[in-house]
Every structure is written in C-alpha cells, then in structure tokens.
Symmetry: C2
Subunit: 393 residues, 2 copies
C-alpha cells in the first residue's frame, strides 16, 4: 500500500497549480476591470457581488487607457498610453501576454469575430493589428499621407461589422476604412477632406454611422458605412467652439455620446448644455441646460436616461437627464474627480469612478440609491465584459 | 518523510473532484446551447471553436423550449413545455437545479438584474417567479380575469428595465406589466381590452415598445412602456389573416421580428411577404416578396441583413434580405426543417438548426460560405450566452 504514496504525491503536486485555478471556476459575463491610472494597474471586479477579485500590476502608463474584451470574455486587452498592449486573464488575475507595440498610442478595438486586436498609434502614426490569441503582429497600416508621405497620428479607432476597423488621421484630416478580411492584405479605403484635425470619433451601436469630432473647425464629420461609396459629409455645422472661441476646459469625449431611442444626446463644446440630435437626420432638435461644461453624456443601455459628468472644477457632480422630457431629473455629488461611468449590460446599475476619493461607487439607476462601493487607487476607466458582444465598445 | 504521505493522499482526494472541473477553466461569453427536442436534452457549444462541449439530458418535454442565461453567463435556464424549469451549468455540463413549476408552460424571462427568473404558464394560467440562484418560488401571479375569476393562459412574457416583466393573457385579451422591485409584493398594472387572443409578443431591444400578435383579429397590440400611463393601441390594422381568412400553415413568431435600423421587418400572415414597418410611427412602409410563408425574420445584430425561414413544406430554404434596398440578395437550402437561426453577438456568423438532417450548420454572414457544422439530435432552438446582456432575449 505504501508504494502508491510517491505516485500520489507526484499526482498532487502536478494538480496543485491547476487546483489553485479551479477555485476560480466561474462565469465571466459579469466581470469587469477598473483602470488604476497612477499605479499602472487594473483591478478585476465581479459586478454581481460588487467585489474585487484581484489586481494585476505592471501595465505601464495607463493615462487615457481603455480596454476591449475577448469574445469568450475571459481576457481584457488593455491599451496603454506608452504603446503597451496587455492581455489580462480575468480568471487568474495575471498578465497572459504583453507587447510594447509602439512609442505612443491611444485606444484600440477588437474585430467582430474576436480574432484581431487593433491599436491606434501616435508615434509612429498608424494602426497595428494583432492576433488576439498570440498578440503577434498580423498587419501594419502606416498612416501615410500627402505628397511628402508624412505620418499622421491616428485617433477614433473603432470596429465595424465585416472584420473592419475605421479610424481618423488627425494631421491628415482623413477617415480610413480598413477591411481585414485577409489580414495579410488589408484593403484600405481612404476618405480625404474629412475636416480639420479629427480628434475623436464614435460608431453607432449598429455599426452604421461613424462620426468624428473636429478640433480645428466647427461641425462634425459623418460617414454612412452602409453606403456602397462611403463619403464624408459635415453635420451639425454649429457644433464646436464657434467664432467666439469659447474657453474649453476639456474637449468632450465622443465615445460617451448617448443614443437614446430616436435621439443622440451629446455634450456641447464650451457651453453648459447638451445637444439633442435627431438620429435619422443628424440635425439639432433641442438643447438641455446643465450644471457646467459636460464631458461624458452616457445613455443607460435602454436609452431612457442619460448620465452626465463635467469638466474641472465642477467634476464632482453628476446630472441625470430623462430622455422623453429632456429634463434633469436628478443631481448629486459623488465626490471630487468623478471621471467615468459604466452601466451594467441591461442598465440596472451604474458604476462611477471617483478618482480623488480612491473609490468606485455603485448606484441603482431607478432609485438613485448607492448600493455598493469599492476601494481603488485613483480609479479612472471602468470596462465590463459585456462590451465583447457590442459593436464599437 | 513517509508520515506525510497520508496527508498528501487525503489532499489529493479532496482536490480531485475540483481538479476534474479545473480542466474547464474558461470564459463563458462564447458559449451556447442547442435544444434537442426529441430527446429532452441540450448540447453545450463553444461558438469560437465550433465545437460541442457536452450534453445534458433529463430536461423533459422540450417542444417549443426556450432559454435565458444568468448574468455571469455560466447557467442556462431552460423552459420546457411540461412546466419543467431546469438550470444547466454550462461549465460542468450538469443539471444544477430543476423544478416542475407547473403543468404546462411556454417561455420565460430573466430580470434585468439577473436575480429573478419568470415563467409563463398555461396550466394553471399565470406567471411564477423564481430566485435565479436557488429556483425557490418568490412570487406567484395568477392570471385571474373577469367576474367569474377565470384563469387565462399567459403568453409573450418578456423582461423590461426596472425589474419588470410584461406578458399577455390569451383568454382575457389583457396585457399585464408586473413590477418585481419587491418580489414579495409584485405591483401589477393590468391593461384591459388589449385585443382578441394575444398569442405571442416581443419587446424592442431598448425595452420601450411591447407588441403582441393577435390570433382572434387583425392588427397588433402596442404598448409604449415609457409612458407614465401605458395603454394599448392597435397598430397595423391590416396585419393578420384578413377577411378572406387565408390558410395559415404556421402563425409567424413575433420573437423573431427584426429591427433593422429605422425599420421593423416582420413576417406577413398567410402571404408570401415580409412587411416593412417604420420603427417610429409603426406604420407599414413597404412589402418584400419572399419564397413562401415566412416564420422567422431575424435581423443580423447590426440590422444590415434579415434572414428568413419558411413554413412547411418550404422549410428547407433560407432567404437573406439586404435592408437598405429591401431586396432578396441570397437564397439557399440548408436542408429539411431549417427551424431556427441564432447570430453571434456582433453578427459575423449565424447558426442554423436543420432538424431533419440532425445538423447545425454555421455560415459566414458576409460571404454566405458554410464555415462549420455540428451533429445534434433533431436540433431546434439555439441560444447563445450573449443574450444575458440583452433586454427581451
């Protein structure tokens, strides 16, 4: 009998590392990450239990960091400001892969089939595309423009249906649509004269409309991706800093734009207002006075409410807009530097990062009651795994 | 040294069952189930690898069975025809819980916070609500109506934002909105005179519009759930069998209704046509001639395409509609009794169950090429875990 002990010990030792993982056997549909900008780390959260499951460090410069998720919702791809691309395993709270893919980057996207991760770079300008499993480079799309073949910063990178990515060239004033059906030979359609200095963009949830904000002029650049011959047209000609060049403390984020039923609700630039834009005609149909200069206006997933935060020094405040009436129905002060909001997939709760309190607060969106809180070090972006199933997130 | 062997053996034995599970450590965002109606079983599938992971048996009568998912996307709740409610663990391919909750049921839903599972019953008529973790009954809403307090069959049960469920009373011609904020004391708003014999219903993806089909008269019943005083109004007065009482081989499913950008595309009743309805006005704006009597018209998640299947004896065929042009752009014959379609979350692939071939086929929605196939015994409904994050699915 004693002769089997050594075999059993060996067996136990082999199984130990796996067993350590088996404690984590769980679904991944209710997970998320919170960016801890100052410490270059992320915390992994369980959105059902309002709990922190782990912390992953060593992700580099996470200023303006964002993330997308693998289609199995096990992995987060975190895009750092320093060109770092990190694949985080949410189940084991470890770094699965990490590459320094450029010198300076901003934002990324994952293809509709989950196979390709694309990153938008400032230096050198362009978009690099990676195999989502291995993080091996599979395509490099330099943002070369003009007669001198200069390189442009790229911004506003999003995924679109049909294994496409769409992005804007800040210096060139162009919008490019890249078809990665054959990753080794990307087909790039270049739309020129898109406007002066596109600085950010969004794609509608159905993947049809790409809209870029312009830093260098008023108005927005719009592309209907359903068109056989997509072209740029200017919409909301009055949108922007205007002739008087209002002081703008922070250019509003376009990712936050809220599509609420038949309207877009978007932050005005400089003004203490939101604009309501008809989602079919892209024409302004109303304005809503708010507390200060809005930064993010984010729709609850059902589009019934829009939650708004504001630029410094008024960034301690949140207002909630009721969409049918276009009225502010709730206002409160979560705390200093309330930077980001993320809704649960069907919108019953919203998570807010309050950077200068080192807290993430969780609210019931129907009663507005606080239902939970977590400690995090200088939290900024919050990203939930349900994004894996959504276009443009 | 030998004295530690027994402790190690004990350790190994304790860990063994868990270790068996640890082989399954994986994300759950790309899982799904396929209903095997004839054998009362489901197969669990991996939609990334096009693979079957396991089979779970003993689920009873799965005619017309449907399923919803826990918010962590680990569990499927399968609603059987015989009143059986089964919670299936997708990671271990086992039955986690099972209750016989009525004598005869059809369909179910899960609340926006994932805490409550509701089931729609024929016998006795009404809706029962269960704790999603334990499957303990937490609320019973009998569908009592009229002066004699008769019991109605309930149909068209969906979830709505704010921990609500909406359903229709077939015999009573009523639509009920149940607020389960306090499960022990459901608040039920009863809309009477909803129409003659509502037989099925849908809710729009944003949770705003509830639309019930009527078996006993033409037209559809519509409720705007954003209204402070929701009421039923009749839309599409010409929709139905009409005065000539066309032969109808199968009443079309409303769950399948396709919202494609600014339109709903829905199966006509009796006619070889689809109707296009404006998504704002709910008025008919066009018709599309198709192969035979349509059963399901399902939009690809981006709304660019609508896939249609047909009633017996033409149920071997699929047609694909291009939404901008409202034209049939593709037609093919997967095989006899092509019953159900399920798209991947961002629509790059579609899975079709071909019952009489005992096959599930997988197609690329852009190229229409077959990219995979699986064996399943008389497959019918296909349900992917991404539904957990969507309203009304």
């Amino acid at each position: 009998m004693t002769r089997i002990w050594p075999a059993l010990v060996l067996f136990a030792l082999v199984w130990l590392p796996l067993s350590a993982q088996s404690a984590e056997l769980r679904g991944t549909g209710d997970l998320g990450i919170i960016i801890e900008r100052a410490s270059g780390s992320v915390v992994i959260v369980d959105t059902t239990r309002h709990a922190i499951l782990g912390r992953v460090t060593g992700l580099g410069d996470l200023s303006h960091a964002s993330a997308v998720f693998s289609r199995d919702q096990r992995y987060a791809y975190v895009f750092g400001r320093d060109g770092g691309l990190t694949k985080v395993d949410l189940l084991t709270a470890t770094v699965a892969k990490r590459v320094m893919q450029s010198g300076n980057s901003i934002g990324g996207a994952i293809s509709d089939d989950g196979q390709l991760v694309a990153v938008s770079n400032y230096e050198p300008g362009g978009v690099k595309v990676f195999n989502s499993t291995t993080l091996e480079l599979v395509a490099d799309i330099p943002a070369t423009y003009g007669e001198k073949a200069e390189m442009s910063k790229t911004v506003g990178l999003v995924d679109a249906p049909g294994r496409k990515f769409v992005f804007s060239l800040y210096d060139a004033g162009e919008i490019w649509i890249a078809d990665l059906s054959e990753p080794a030979a990307p087909q790039v359609r270049k739309l020129k004269n898109a406007g002066n200095q596109p600085y950010d963009a969004l794609i509608t949830g159905n993947g049809r409309h790409y809209i870029a904000g312009l830093f260098g002029e008023d108005g927005l650049a719009h592309v209907d991706l359903w068109s056989d011959q997509p072209e740029v047209r200017k919409i909301l000609q009055g949108y922007g800093r205007g002739e008087q060049e209002l002081p703008v403390y922070k250019m509003p984020h376009l990712e936050g734009w809220a599509q609420a039923d038949e309207l877009f609700i978007l932050p005005a630039v400089g003004h203490h207002q939101l604009l309501a834009m008809d989602a079919r005609t892209f024409e302004e149909v109303g304005r809503i006075d708010v507390h200060s200069q809005p930064v993010f206006a984010v729709a609850r997933p059902d589009g019934r409410q829009v939650w708004v935060n504001f630029a410094h020094p008024d960034n301690d405040t949140i207002q909630v807009i009721d969409v049918p009436s276009l009225k502010v129905v709730h206002e409160f002060k979560p705390g200093p530097a309330t930077l980001h909001m993320e809704f649960t997939p069907r919108g019953h709760e919203v998570w807010l990062s309050v950077r200068d309190s080192d807290k993430v607060y969780i609210y019931d969106t129907r009663t507005f009651e606080k239902v939970g809180e977590l400690d995090a070090a200088k939290p900024s972006g919050i990203f939930f795994t349900a994004r894996a199933g959504r276009t443009g997130l």
